[in-house]
């Protein structure tokens, strides 16, 4: 059995496993917007990383404390500036960039603090999103994008192609990229960007400074 399938059956999120694949064992990792610490705990337990986190919600921070994770209650938009250059091997922004006020500045900070950055986000270019807009004329509400437009933390949605363009603007080089379909499985075939942008519900990117 594919180890991913086995892991999915024990409840581990597939996008987390994809991120975990990109992280070298024993490295220093900062997870920005780490939620309840599930990804950090996974990386610690399976990859032996030295992990840190930033999380805006108190409930999230307390859940992390209970897992023994050193997580700081803070805001990605303001607190990343306090970290020194090259403080981490990887800085992860998992399903968070769309909730930041200044995604470009956050991305630049990630690449300054970490030697590598891993960014995953819901793709607003997915065909279902496009169909919703085209036929219903409504902002999409799906399993991965469950909020109504007027009551959502997600204020800066982008498509995979938008993100690729942002990477070019900030001088980030893509070492690896993957798109996940609605079931969380990687879009396996080698396809051009426009196809990934259509078929991927999520994008996951491993970036370095150029």
């Amino acid at each position: 059995m594919d180890p991913r399938t086995a892991a999915a059956q024990d409840g581990t999120r597939l996008d987390f496993l994809l991120v975990a694949d990109m992280v070298a064992p024993g490295s220093r990792v900062l997870d920005v917007g780490c939620g309840d610490g599930s990804l950090l705990a996974l990386l610690r337990d399976r990859k032996g990383i030295d992990g840190r986190g930033i999380e805006i919600s108190r409930e999230g921070v307390n859940a992390c404390l209970a897992k023994g994770l050193p997580v700081i209650q803070g805001d990605a938009d303001t607190d990343l500036a306090d970290y020194p250059d090259d403080a981490f091997d990887y800085v992860i922004l998992s399903q968070t960039i769309q909730a930041t006020r200044q995604p470009k500045i956050v991305l630049e900070q990630l690449l300054r603090i970490g030697r590598r950055a891993i960014v995953s986000f819901p793709n607003f270019g997915h065909w279902r999103v496009r169909l919703d807009l085209l036929f219903k004329g409504r902002m999409p509400v799906t399993e991965n994008l469950p909020y109504s437009w007027h009551d959502t933390p997600n204020i800066h949605f982008c498509t995979i192609r938008d993100f690729v363009e942002l990477c070019r603007e900030v001088g980030a080089q893509m070492e690896k990229a993957a798109a996940l379909d609605a079931g969380g499985h990687p879009v396996r075939v080698v396809l051009p960007w426009w196809a990934w942008n259509l078929l991927g519900e999520q994008g996951v990117f491993l970036l370095t400074r150029r």
Binding site: R58, N62, L65, K67, G68, P70, V71, I72, A87
Partner: protein
């Protein structure tokens, strides 16, 4: 001098307290930051729970300005429960069924550890202002000597709020290899100008009381109760918040329905503060208040590391958890964030929680479920890593 004078209540615990005492002879002086040795000297403490065979489960609690070693037992002076029974006790976040908990009265205090009210062996009189000025680092040195005496090589955790949190930071900086985990709550790595200002007002109130007698009130049979009460009243306001005062007292009158057009305590808040002042002088020594506030004023952890707080924690393997409260304006969240930034810059392991509360600085002593949840999560996870059952 009035020879028939009976020592006031606080004096009863000074030289021979009802708690255990570790005594150090003139040959084992405490070397103070002021550059003078203090000896002989003693440190009074309480313990709860049992030290395990590996001696790995010891937690040191550091008390705040007017606290004492009676963290989880009835106070021998006031007859009231310990000052942190919500945090320390069986099944509490600092679980005395699992951990060996130590709490000592600070040097300069008046509950059995050597301080200005203690008897100076050279004169047979209370030290008064002959007692050397002490620092937070001196308090920690004294605790380290006690921890040595108790046969504990490394502390599992050091915990404290306010001035206790300053001691936690000093422990981590002075003895990093002896501190596995550190939990400073509502603390700061340096005392702010505003806080020094409040302390100065309190000290001046004490020294302006004619019964202070240049500090020699114990020998002269007086007590600067009015000055000390005013100092406490002023300080007490800084421990609360505008919102908490409004919620608790508002503009309510005390046992009357209209103002009396006098300077009587018309308002509940006035009556409350007067009570707080009076209750305080029953249990605390005025000179101790001068010395311990001075120690807090002098605290600036970065200063002893070339101005860099990060350098104070360089290479530290200690796990830190920093907690602050939203309405604390005495030790505001920005002070805690400065600690967190420095720990991050030093690549130390640090967690940080800002607890939502309208109770001001005092929140750390009160029933704050978010604080207990954070402390419990941090302590339990650290205990797992340390292999404490």
């Amino acid at each position: 001098m009035t020879s028939a004078f009976q020592p006031p209540e606080p004096r009863s615990q000074v030289d021979d307290p009802s708690s255990p005492v570790a005594r150090f002879g003139a040959d084992e002086p405490l070397l103070l930051d002021a550059g003078v040795p203090l000896g002989p000297w003693q440190i009074a403490y309480q313990t709860y729970g049992t030290l395990n065979a590996e001696r790995s489960n010891a937690i040191l609690i550091c008390h705040a300005l007017t606290g004492d070693q009676h963290v989880a037992n009835v106070s021998p002076v006031t007859g009231k429960p310990g000052w942190w029974t919500t945090m320390v006790g069986p099944g509490r976040p600092v679980d005395t069924d699992r951990f060996f908990v130590v709490c000592a009265n600070v040097i300069g205090g008046c509950m059995g550890t050597t301080g200005p009210a203690s008897t100076d062996p050279q004169t047979g009189q209370p030290y008064a202002l002959d007692f050397p000025v002490i620092t937070i680092r001196d308090m920690v040195r004294a605790q380290a000597a006690l921890i040595d005496r108790l046969g504990i090589e490394s502390l599992f955790c050091v915990i404290g709020g306010s001035m206790g949190g300053m001691q936690v930071l000093q422990w981590a900086a002075s003895y990093p290899e002896r501190v596995f985990a550190a939990l400073p709550i509502a603390a700061a790595a340096r005392h702010s100008a505003q806080n020094i200002a409040f302390h100065e007002v309190g000290r001046q109130a004490i020294m302006a009381d004619p019964d202070w007698r240049g500090g020699r009130y114990l020998a002269e049979g007086t007590r600067p109760t009015k000055g000390l009460a005013v100092a406490r009243m002023g300080a007490h306001i800084t421990y609360l918040s505008e919102m908490a005062l409004h919620r608790k007292f508002g503009r309510n009158y005390q046992d009357r329905s209209a103002p009396t057009f006098s300077f009587d305590a018309d308002f509940q808040i006035e009556s409350y503060l007067r009570y707080q002042g009076l209750a305080f002088v029953e249990r605390f020594d005025a000179n101790s208040y001068l010395y311990v506030t001075r120690a807090m004023d002098y605290f600036d952890l970065a200063a002893e590391h070339g101005g860099s707080l990060a350098r104070a924690f360089k290479g530290s393997a200690t796990r830190f958890c920093v907690i602050s409260f939203t309405s604390d304006w005495l030790f505001p969240t920005s002070d805690s964030r400065a600690i967190v930034h420095a720990l991050n810059a030093a690549a130390a392991s640090v967690a940080f929680v800002e607890v939502e509360s309208d109770k001001g600085h005092d929140a750390f002593l009160l029933d704050e479920p978010e604080m207990f949840a954070a402390a419990r999560g941090f302590i339990d996870a650290a205990a797992r890593v340390r292999g404490i059952a």
